[in-house]
Structure formats: structure tokens, C-alpha cells
Amino acid sequence: MFKKILIANRGEIAIRVHRACCELGVPTVAIFSEADRAALHVRVCDEAYCVGPAPSRQSYLNIDRILEVAKLTGADAIHPGYGFLSENAEFAERCAALGITFIGPNTKAIRVMGNKTTSRVAVAEMNVPLVPGMKENLRDEAHAMEWAERIGLPLMMKAAAGGGGKGMRMVTRLQDVPAAFRAAQSEGLSFFGDGSVYLERYVESPRHIEIQVLGDKHGNIIYFPERECSIQRRHQKVIEEAPSTIVDEAMRRAMGEAAVKAARSVGYDSAGTVEFIVSGKSREFFFLEMNTRLQVEHPITEMITGVDLCKEMIKSAAGDPLPFTQGDITLSGHAIECRIYAEDPDNNFLPTPGKIVGLRVPGGPWVRDESGMYEGLDVPIHYDPMLSKLVVWGSTRERAISRMLRALGEYAVKGIKTTIPFHARVIGSEAFAQGDFDTHYIDNHFRPADAARPMPHEDIALIAAAIQAFRRDKDRAQHLMGGQPNGQEHSAWKSSGRVRR
């Protein structure tokens, strides 16, 4: 096992990795930007070093500085978490050059899977099903027209280096192909510095279902039961659950075996995820991409299998063989995760950075809060708005749903708006209860209905506001006359930080 692990990340995932290290008895080194001096991960790790100014490029992506800290502290391994440097092959190579273990897969796997075109070629050789489409990049508009006719409509025009919904264009008419080609090419260039574009068939009622895999340095790779990640807003996952309502035992095995084949195509030797797009109509599944890191939503897999993926990932990087075989992995019950964001769901999901002046965290049986929050934390404007992940387990899906609703009801974050109430409405919706949704559900169906929802307690809200106005005016009048205000003593729960700027 390693002597010391540097965690090259921030927020909840840095704390998640620290917890795994802690249980393995390995001390940890945190890094932080100047904006994150007060972040929780800085306080929980054993050592902590500032790696630069607030912008990520100068701190959490600053390879030179991070490696300096690793050398200085004697860390012999680096866990990159997700995002930031987690899928950066150059970083992994530079770690290796210094004799530091990058806790992730081999660099070839990162490179091949990091590009949509090369990853499709690699997995196709292993007979993993692909969405009907091209295995090469488009040369020009004429080439695009020729392929569009060959594959058939509807189509997706995609930037080869794309991700997160950027650089994608749906095409329903042949005459729109040239414009979509130009748009995807320019978005690919501006967002990812790569204008390569390809075409593939558009899958109807698409569901996003993914398979966690775990490999070691001895050639063993196993798969875990699927995660259903179709509840997305603008192509970003919002709620995940495991297992999926549309996957049965035979399909689970078929998807798992396909995922292991995809992982084998690059000699995968760590924790990773193979993402599939599944037709809600035909139940066909097609390889989408492989993420060569620990995913945000890994806890739901842990909850239904009892395996600590983060810890196993570290052990496998240290050279340990997997302690279990495929037959040892069993599925028990149902897990759901809600990603809690610092965003205002009633105001077009605008980010809401600011001070958390009150926090009540849900508890009770089978409730897990993966969080970087604490009362008094000033949520910085520089990074991803995810504050925490609320994860629950239940012996059935129905029980997991009612437990999640209960836990969301207990979760109180004061001072900034969060997506907690929005999650409660999605989880409580009929479509969610039925498992009847695809990746367009939130944007096309749920949100329009949600914005127009009745506000049953409007009268009470008006009464509360009017009474507060009345008490404020009375206080002011008494204050002017030199009397004592009737206001209460300030408590730590609500301090003056409450006042909005």
C-alpha cells in the first residue's frame, strides 16, 4: 500500500477519497486554491498546500505545482477524483516519470477512451455494439451528406472531442446537414480545440445507462450492476439510480459483458465506467463512451453491492489483485442519488454562490450525505455548483423513493438557494414513480409543467411576509422612540450573514 496519497481535487470528492484513504490507514495531502482556503477538504486531510489562485487553470489544473507538492510531501500516489486532471494522460505520464503512481488506468486507456473516434474503433474490434454511424471523421460537407444518406435520419452530428452536451447537433432533415456540420465543427474547435466531427444515428426515447467496471494490474476485470442516469438537465446528470427499471437479468449480463470487452480493448486496470445509450423502445444498447475515472455517481453502485469502489480503486493501483470475482458481485435492493447544486430552480437554474448560514443534514437509516458543505462556508463562484450528493438505499425501488423524499425534506440549506425542492418534485412525480422517462424528460416535459405548478401555500407565504414587515416597522418605530426592539437575540444559526447583498 502507498505511504501517502495526494488528492488532486476539491469539494465532496476530495473528502470521499480522504475517507477511503483513512480507512486504508494512508495519510492524505490536500491541495487547494486561494479561493478554497476555507474548504472542508483542507480541514479534513492530514496536510494541505495552496497550489495557486482561484481560476482552476492556475491551481487545480496546475500540473507543475501539484507535482511539486507531491515531491515535497513525499506522496507516492495521486488520486485525481473526477473532473480536473482525472482524464489527463499527460498528467498521468508526468506522475509516472517521477515515480508517483497515478490512481487511475494506464495512459493508453485514458488516451484511446478520451477521444470518441478512437474509442469507437477500439471497442468495435471487440464486437461491442455501436450506434450505427461512422468510425472515421467527416472530411467536408459533401462527405457529411453522403454519410447522412447512408445512415438514415434522424441523425446526431457530433464533435469527436466533445462532451457534456457541447458540440452535438440533432439533424432531422437532410438539407440541414451542412449547417449542422459547420456548427459542430466550430463548437468542437472553440470548446475542445479539435474540429473533428462524425455522424451517427439518433436513438429514440434514449436512456443513458452505464456499467461500472473494476480492473486490476493482473488482467482481471469485473462489472457491476447498471446505473440508470437518464434524469438529466441540459445533458448533465441530475438524479441517478441503480438498478434501472428497464433492465432485466439477461440484459444486465449482456451489458456487463459488453462493458468488460470494451475495458479489455484498452487493458483497463482501474475503476471506470462504460456508458451506453439504450433505446427505450427496442431495449437495444449501444456504446457511447468510457469514462476512465471514478464517477460522481459511484456511491449508488456501492450501496447495492456493498463494495467500496474508491478503496478498491486505490488498492488496485497499489498492485493488489481484485479481492473478488464476478460471481461474488450480487445486487441487493435499490439506490438513488440526487446531486444537490447551488442553483435556483425557480430562476432558470442560475448559480447561487454565497454563504451557507444554516445547514441541517438528513440522517436516519440508509441515508448517505456526500458533501463538502458546512455551516458558514462561503460557496465560491469559481467552480462547479455541485454542493453535495444525497444517496439513499431501500430494499425496493418504492422504499428508496419514499426514503429519498423523506431525506430531501430533512435537508435544509439556508442562505443560498439549492436544487433540493426541485429534486423532491422530480422524485415525487408520477413519471419517475413509473420509471417512465428518457434523457429529455426534465427539459421537455417536467420543467414546463413544474414552472406552471400551483403554489398551494401562497396565502401563508403572504401572511408570513406581511407579519415580518409589520414587526420590522414596529421595531423601527420603537427604535426611533428610543425603546427596545422586540427582535430576538441573534443566534449562531442565523447571523447577520443572512442579509443579502
Partner: protein, 172 residues
């Protein structure tokens, strides 16, 4: 005291009377409510109305008449103004020009400014782009007009409610 409350462009007249300590009689339009009131924690109200218990989180925005109310998972932005003051304000607004003072809807970083003072703009035109938490947000002109002044500076951080720029209406 009589107040005028505005919620989602809907105006309600509200009379509030404190009948005894922590007891209020509130008339909402033509409906009347007896309210048993307690503020057990600062800004967290416990209201008992007809035996029903409500926990209400009220954010008062200092130096304004706006209240942010969180109740059973829903958020309400309500303006509550004393009736006489509201009437005065309505008179003032009617006489004022249609000058638009654009304020920042969120804390963030001014990424790009797309207009200069003196430039004419049309309603819906993007004036500047704010960035926070990897999200870019466009600030658009609410009217056809001319840019009066630009307070925002590129690369400079702004807080919620900070002035960004002024759009003057086109001369008639």
C-alpha cells in the same frame, strides 16, 4: 397597518393587527386569519393557523421591501410595502422616465461586455455576459434604447444586485 403585497405581478392588500403578543389577525383581501406566531430561530417562523402548523423561512432583504419566503419546498419572492408608501411610489414611477437600471441577478464574474455608452440597443439584445460556477449567463436589454452608462468592468466580480449598466429609452 395596511400593506400592499406584490407576488408574481399580482397585488394583494393585507391588513395586519397584533391582537396580543405573538397573536396576529391578518386580513388578506376579504379572507381573515388568526395567526399564532413564534420565531424560534432567527428568520424561521412557526405559524399555527386554524390548528395547522407551518414552518416558514423568511429572508428579509435589508434596505428593500422584498421578502424571500421558503415554505414547504416552494420559494416566494414577495414585495411588501406599506400602503401609503406604495401609493407614493406608484405616483413617482408614473412620472419617471423609462430608464432601466440593470442590476446583477447573481454573484459572478463579468466575462464580456458587448456594448459601449451611447450605443443603441434593441430589446432582447445581449449586453454583457456574466460567468459563475462554469455557467455563462447573458444579460439582455429589457427595452429598445441607448446605453447610458456601463458600471460593470470585464474580469471584475459582481455581487447580487450590483449595478451593471443603464439603458435609456429612445427619445420620443
Amino acid at each position: 397597518m395596511t400593506y400592499i403585497a406584490t407576488y408574481r405581478d399580482q397585488i394583494t392588500r393585507i391588513q395586519v393587527k397584533e391582537t396580543e403578543p405573538n397573536r396576529f389577525r391578518v386580513a388578506l383581501g376579504d379572507k381573515e386569519f388568526e395567526v399564532d406566531f413564534l420565531e424560534p430561530q432567527r428568520n424561521i417562523l412557526s405559524l399555527l393557523i386554524d390548528g395547522r402548523s407551518y414552518e416558514v423561512d423568511v429572508d428579509a432583504v435589508e434596505t428593500s421591501d422584498n421578502f424571500g419566503v421558503m415554505l414547504k419546498g416552494d420559494h416566494y419572492e414577495i414585495e411588501v410595502v406599506e400602503e401609503r408608501k406604495k401609493k407614493l411610489a406608484l405616483k413617482m414611477a408614473a412620472g419617471a422616465s423609462g430608464r432601466q437600471d440593470l442590476k446583477s441577478p447573481m454573484a459572478g464574474n463579468v466575462k464580456t461586455i458587448l456594448v459601449r455608452p451611447g450605443e443603441s440597443v434593441s430589446a432582447g439584445q445581449v449586453l454583457l455576459i456574466l460567468e459563475a460556477m462554469k455557467m455563462q449567463n447573458e444579460i439582455k436589454s429589457p427595452i429598445d434604447g441607448i446605453i447610458g452608462s456601463v458600471t460593470a468592468r470585464e474580469g471584475v466580480t459582481v455581487s447580487l444586485g450590483d449595478p451593471l449598466c443603464v439603458v435609456d429609452p429612445l427619445p420620443q
